[in-house]
Structure formats: structure tokens, C-alpha cells
């Protein structure tokens, strides 16, 4: 079988299960993030010195670890970008193997009227220069920095495009996430007000926060990248959301602040024939009614903190469940314990389709797991989880 045939077979396997039909076997997703760097015995600095290395680094794990798809494509953010812009938000870890993030949210609580009035001008002319010191200079100096940033992303964008292709032609491996559906409340949470700020805003200035979320939505829509005149979108790869604030919200807060704009955004994707994969960060079991209100077979949810067996029972008829393989067990358990647990996950979650086997968390740091355990469970599931 050619790599292209293998790629197509895997995409079909994934799409079949997301339609709640049983494919030939349970698809296996690898959640390989910056962990690939240490696995390849490289450092983030190696990539900065030679961007081409990102291709080798993110292909390397797939020489040894079986999977039918991988979650993302290389490093989504990098420390060099932060240095170019004069920001401290992203930096290289002390051991040199990962990218770390520091929350820097510079919007003040009394600035909602400005955000609401003109979100783009407020975010870029006022907030961005506060945290990116090199964009707080004269226009001429700012332009020089922006051009350096553009040059960096031309190279990085080209590397990511070629990495995507290398995964396909070398390993027959699709990347499951495509364009990002970024919730507008998460934009305010992640980049403007932060954890403390938005927690206070929900109580002290809820109407302003709501109006701010509405105001930011066109920016989220633009990032989604669907042209206004689009009549359809591809059904693969999936549009992706990495949820951040929902796990900290009560169901009432979620319903009031988060869901209206997010639901509207993703239902547009559904209307155009696409699907959404959601990384359900933290705990989501008090918000299942919202997930069950989505169109059937539209969404795929990667369960991070939820009990996968309960999730399968409570939301698994409506959406595809991904996850189940405890990263903690992969780190601290032995091979037999891991395989035994993987068998239970498959036995309970796979019947009827609507299930993708993967680890409960993304792999980021060298010590995140014992890789021998991951190799063992993925090989086991690949051979065992065959639909009759």
C-alpha cells in the first residue's frame, strides 16, 4: 500500500467513526506536542538555529510510535516570535526542551467601552504595545519589527507546510486539526483580562463583558478563515478549538457568557459541512447538556479531565469521544497495566463507532510519560481494536 493510500485509508477511518459508524478499526490519535523535541534529542534552540530541524523532530516519533493521525503540526507558538516582538509571554524552559507561557493581560477593567467601540484599534494600538515592547516604538521602528516578524513566519509557515507534507508522504499520517475556531471569550480570557480579571468582570461588570465578547467575535471569525461567500468547507481536517476558560465556569456562566457566540461560530461550520474537534480542557461534565445540543456527528471531543466511560455514556451518542488513555498511567504504570487499561477503554468506548483512542493529555515535556508504554498500548490497540 502506498503512503497516499495509507493516508486516505486513515482519513476514512476517522471520518467513519465520527459519523458513528464502525470503521475497520479504532483510529489512534497521537497527541504529540513539544515532547517530540526531547524525544528527538534536540532542543528548542536547535529549531531556532535551523528551522528545518522542526520537520525532522516532528516526524521522528512516528518512526517508532503507531498512530492513524496526529493532533497538531509542529510548534504552534515559539519563543523567537516573542523575542522579536519584545514580549515575555513565551520563553524556552530551563532544560531547553519546551516552550513555556506566562499570562500577560494588559487590558484594564475600565477599558471595556474602548474594546466595545473599536476592538481592533483597542487591541492592536493600545494593548499590544503594552506587552510587546518592540511594538511600542516609533512607527518606523515598529514597521521594522513587523517586517522581521513577517520574515520569521514566512520561514516558519513554509516549514509547517512542508512538515504537513512530510508526515503524509513519509508516514501516511494526517494531521487532524485544521483552522482554529477560537472562542471570543477565550480571546478576552487568554490575551486581554486573564484569569483574575475575567473572574471579577463576570460579577462586577457582566454586561460590559458580554458586549466585549460580542465585539471581539468578528476577529475570531476572521481567524477562522472561512470566506464570507463560502458555500462549503472541507470535512477534513477538522476545525479545532482548544478550550481554556470553560472549565472555570459554572454552567450558568458558561450559558450566559461563553456559549452564545461560540455556538453561533461553530454552527456556521456545521452549516457548511465541516466538523469541529474540541480539546475539552479540564472538567466538562457539568456542561454536557450544551455538547448534547450540538448537531449529531458534528463534534469530536478530546476528554482531558473527564471520566471517559461516563463521557461515552452521557455524550457519546451525539459526538465522537477521543481520549481515555491516562497519561499518568503511561508515566507511572508498567506495560501490562497500561495495556490492560487500554483494553478496557476500547471495550467500553469503541462499540458503534464514535470513538478515537488517544492519551488524555498532549505530550509536552520529556518526563510526561514512559514512551515504551505508549508504543505498547498503541500497538496493542492497533491490533486488538478491529471491528468484526
Amino acid at each position: 500500500m502506498s503512503k497516499e493510500q495509507l493516508y486516505n485509508e486513515r482519513v476514512k477511518r476517522i471520518l467513519t467513526t465520527t459519523n458513528h459508524q464502525e470503521p475497520d478499526r479504532v483510529p489512534i490519535l497521537s497527541m504529540i506536542g513539544s515532547w517530540a523535541i526531547s524525544y528527538s534529542k534536540m532542543t528548542v534552540k536547535d529549531i531556532e538555529d535551523d528551522p528545518e530541524k522542526e520537520i525532522e523532530i516532528f516526524c521522528k516519533p512516528h518512526e517508532d510510535i503507531y498512530s492513524d493521525a496526529t493532533y497538531t503540526n509542529g510548534l504552534l507558538v515559539d519563543a523567537k516570535s516573542a523575542r522579536i516582538l519584545g514580549s515575555e509571554s513565551y520563553f524556552i524552559s530551563k532544560d531547553g526542551s519546551t516552550i513555556q507561557n506566562k499570562e500577560i493581560c494588559e487590558m484594564k477593567e475600565d477599558e471595556y467601552p474602548e474594546l466595545i467601540k473599536n476592538p481592533m484599534e483597542f487591541m492592536f494600538n493600545k494593548v499590544v504595545p503594552r506587552k510587546n515592547t518592540k511594538l511600542a516604538q516609533t512607527p518606523e521602528e515598529n514597521l521594522k519589527v513587523l517586517r522581521e516578524f513577517l520574515e520569521h513566519w514566512i520561514i516558519k509557515g513554509d516549514v509547517q507546510r512542508r512538515l504537513l507534507n512530510e508526515l503524509k508522504v513519509r508516514h501516511g499520517l494526517p494531521v487532524i486539526t485544521g483552522p482554529v475556531a477560537y472562542p471570543s471569550m477565550d480571546i478576552i480570557f487568554d490575551y486581554l483580562r486573564g484569569f483574575h480579571g475575567i473572574s471579577v468582570d463576570m460579577r462586577r461588570r457582566p454586561e460590559e463583558l458580554l458586549a466585549g465578547i460580542e465585539a471581539v467575535q468578528p476577529f475570531a471569525d476572521a481567524f477562522l478563515g472561512i470566506p464570507a461567500d463560502a458555500r462549503e468547507v472541507p470535512n477534513f481536517p477538522f476545525f479545532a478549538t482548544m478550550h481554556h476558560v470553560p472549565t472555570f465556569l459554572s454552567p450558568k456562566q458558561f450559558e450566559k457568557f461563553f456559549w452564545p457566540t461560540y455556538e453561533k461560530m461553530i454552527l456556521r461550520i456545521h452549516k457548511l459541512g465541516g466538523k469541529v474537534i474540541m480539546f475539552l480542557e479540564g472538567q466538562w461534565d457539568n456542561k454536557y447538556e450544551f455538547l448534547n445540543s450540538l448537531p449529531k456527528d458534528f463534534a469530536i471531543g478530546i476528554c482531558e479531565g473527564d471520566d471517559i466511560f461516563k463521557a461515552k455514556k452521557l455524550i457519546g451518542d451525539n459526538m465522537t469521544i477521543a481520549g481515555g488513555m491516562s497519561l499518568e498511567l503511561l508515566k507511572y504504570g508498567n506495560k501490562e497495566q497500561c495495556v490492560e487499561y487500554a483494553k478496557r477503554v476500547v471495550d467500553e468506548c469503541a462499540p458503534g463507532g464514535g470513538y478515537i483512542f488517544t492519551s488524555s493529555r498532549e505530550l509536552l515535556s520529556p518526563g510526561d510519560l514512559n514512551v515504551e508504554n505508549l508504543i505498547a498500548v498503541n500497538d496493542y490497540v492497533h491490533n486488538y481494536a478491529v471491528y468484526k
Partner: protein, 42 residues
């Protein structure tokens, strides 16, 4: 004049420097939106 432009205007101006992309406005606009998002996120 470049020296009178706001940061947002300068960022929008990068679209005219994207000759490495096909001359498709949707593609260039898409790349610009990704850059904007990165600048806000970083």
C-alpha cells in the same frame, strides 16, 4: 506617510508585502489574520 501610521495600520500594510503568496486576496487576507492573531497572542 509610514511615520504617521498606527500599529494596526502598519500591520494591515503587511498585506502588500506578501508577494510570496499567490495573488489571491482570500489567501493573503487569511495569512494577515493569522499574523494579527499571533501578535495579539504573543
Amino acid at each position: 506617510m509610514e511615520n504617521e501610521k498606527t500599529l494596526l495600520e502598519l500591520i494591515d500594510g503587511l498585506k502588500a508585502e506578501m508577494d510570496f503568496l499567490p495573488p489571491d486576496d482570500n489567501i493573503r487576507e487569511g495569512f494577515l489574520n493569522v499574523l494579527k492573531f499571533l501578535i495579539l497572542a504573543i
